[in-house]
């Protein structure tokens, strides 16, 4: 259980990026966080990852407070961030250096096959396409078997076709160990195709605006009327979140709603 309790962040330069964000996310759940720019999505994700400490509130994973990067929490960034001096295989095994070499090799081999890049094991990152590099980044994050995987706009730099392909691939990989996925995105289609729950945030300061449960069986048909319906629902919430005339919901009931699943 990942619990966010009134997480807030004010940067040293005075920017109030995030205010009193609360949510409880159960193991294996897929949550999409969506919102306009400056709504604190990435700030929130970095606080969960332990890369930046929250100014107020707490992040806890199974009752352990997260203040620094944690072994059970992995992250995939917008860019693959592969280490250019390591081969594809060594990049995937980067987080496994504590394991004996033979076990590490076996896990890396399996991951390489799983993301369809077995023939690229010895290639350098520069020799990969954008989509392939992001696959390697996904494999690198999943190989240590995190309980929570954070994704910070992971497919936004890719073309539409590759993006769809990787979204489906991510869901497929997720089925192996069913980690909790928390996905920051600005792509409504991506949020609805992947998430069990979409958290819509509103900017300045970033805060939770609306929670939408996507009760659709997987695999989801992007062309189905129900899918379109959920997309419209999220889009409407996004539009409303940017309208200054609409007040925030009562914080107490919001917290309650966010906790509901």
């Amino acid at each position: 259980m990942l619990a966010l309790d009134r997480v807030g962040k004010t940067y040293p330069n005075g920017v109030h990026a995030l205010e009193r964000f609360s949510a409880r996310i159960k193991p294996g759940e897929i949550v999409a966080i969506i919102g306009g720019s400056g709504c604190g999505k990435s700030t929130l994700l970095r606080a969960i990852a332990g890369l930046d400490r929250a100014s107020t509130g707490t992040v806890t994973l199974d009752d352990a407070a997260i203040t620094a990067p944690h072994a059970k929490i992995g992250i995939i960034f917008q860019e693959p961030r592969l280490l250019p001096w390591l081969s594809v295989a060594d990049n995937i095994g980067f987080g496994l250096s504590d394991l004996p070499a033979d076990i590490r090799r076996e896990k890396v081999d399996r991951a390489l096959t799983r993301v369809g890049l077995a023939d690229k094991a010895k290639a350098w990152p520069r020799e990969l396409s954008g989509g392939q590099a992001q696959r390697v980044a996904i494999a690198r994050a999943l190989v240590p078997q995190p309980e929570v995987l954070l994704l910070d706009e992971p497919f936004s730099a890719l073309d539409a076709f590759t993006r769809r392909d990787l979204q489906d691939h991510l869901l497929d990989l997720w089925k192996d160990t069913r980690p909790t996925l928390i996905l920051v995105t600005h792509d409504v289609d991506e949020a609805v195709v992947l998430a069990d729950r979409v958290l819509v945030m509103r900017p300045r300061p970033g805060r939770l605006f609306e929670v939408i449960n996507v009760n659709l069986a997987r695999p989801r048909d992007r062309a189905s009327p129900l899918f379109e319906n959920f997309k419209r629902h999220v889009l409407t919430a996004l539009d409303r979140s940017l309208d200054r005339n609409i007040p925030d919901a009562d914080p107490k009931s919001m917290a309650g709603e966010a906790m509901w699943w």
Binding site: A49, L51, A68, P69, H70, A71, G74, I75, F77, E79, R81, L83, P84, W85, L86, F94, G95, S97, W124, P125, R126
Partner: protein
């Protein structure tokens, strides 16, 4: 009629295609020969100009258009080198110069690497140290010569110190700049996998800094060769710099040019050694030169 001509055209196209395919297959089989040619022909192209000039000058003097007294022809330079080599003088001079460069380069690299790493890694140390180093860097290094001679004497120590000073600055700047330029996003990957301080240095910082470090070493070595000449000008009894001064004072231009040629060969060789020794560590680099096959 029309029908048959169309068919002929079709047949021609097909045979042309077949031809192209066969050609392509040949091209795939052929590369070794043409690649080998390219590999050896390109450096040879660079030799064309100096060899041509040398040959021209040799002929010019041989034909009697010049006496070649101030600019000796290649054969005379070669004879001088052989003469020096036969008497064992050449080995002695080369050994003296190379050992000075080696000692000075070693000291300069160690000091530059350590201080550069400290300045790059700790902000406080950089604020304390860097302004002073930058101020010292602004001093033309030759200006130290009189002081070094007073402090360290006229013999080896002052010479090595001067070379070390020359090597220090590019290495210091290279290391510090490279550490400061390490991508924060890559460092974050290390943080996510919870690398300890030493592991972060070993697995992220060192490999990230290496390409710039190799460049700094090569620049430093170049300066080392430059400063050994200056050092040997200030009263040496052996070394290639001594050969230069000796050649000037006794009016032996062939000896001067011989020493210059040997400097060029040594400088290029040592630079090449660094390049070859570090190449396996830098194979991952996405270098422009490598892609276009210039390497």
């Amino acid at each position: 009629m029309l029908h048959s001509s169309a068919r002929r055209v079709l047949a021609m196209t097909m045979s042309a295609e077949l031809h192209v395919t066969r050609e392509r297959a040949d091209a795939i089989a052929a590369p070794p020969a043409s690649a080998r040619l390219r590999r050896y022909a390109r450096p040879a192209l660079g030799l064309l100009l100096p060899l041509g000039l040398a040959l021209f000058w040799e002929l010019w003097v041989w034909l009697g258009y010049s006496n070649g007294r101030l600019v000796p022809p290649p054969t005379k330079i070669f004879a001088t080198v052989m003469e020096l080599a036969k008497s064992g003088e050449l080995t002695r001079h080369i050994t003296a110069t190379v050992s000075r460069v080696a000692a000075g380069f070693g000291l300069g690299v160690v000091a530059g690497t350590v201080l550069g790493a400290i300045s790059g890694y700790w902000g406080l140390a950089r604020q304390l140290l860097d302004p002073t180093v930058q101020a010292l860097r602004a001093i033309p290094s030759i200006a130290w010569v009189p002081l070094f001679i007073l402090w360290l004497g006229i013999f080896e120590t002052s010479k090595i110190a001067l070379i070390a000073v020359g090597v220090f600055f590019p290495v210091y700047l290279g290391v510090m700049g490279a550490i400061l330029a390490v991508d924060r996003k890559i460092v974050e990957v290390g943080r996510i996998f919870r690398l300890s301080g030493p592991a972060m240095i070993r697995r992220i910082l060192l490999p990230a800094v290496l390409p710039a470090y190799v460049v700094a070493l090569r620049v430093g070595l170049g300066l080392g060769w430059m400063f050994v000449v200056a050092a040997e000008f200030m009263g040496a009894s052996e070394g290639l710099g001594y050969l230069l001064i000796d050649g000037q004072q006794l009016g032996k231009p062939a000896q001067i040019v011989a020493a210059i040629v040997i400097f060029a060969i040594l400088g290029k060789t040592t630079d090449w050694l660094i390049e070859v020794a570090t190449a396996p560590l830098l194979r991952w680099q996405d270098a422009f030169g490598r892609q276009s096959g210039a390497a």
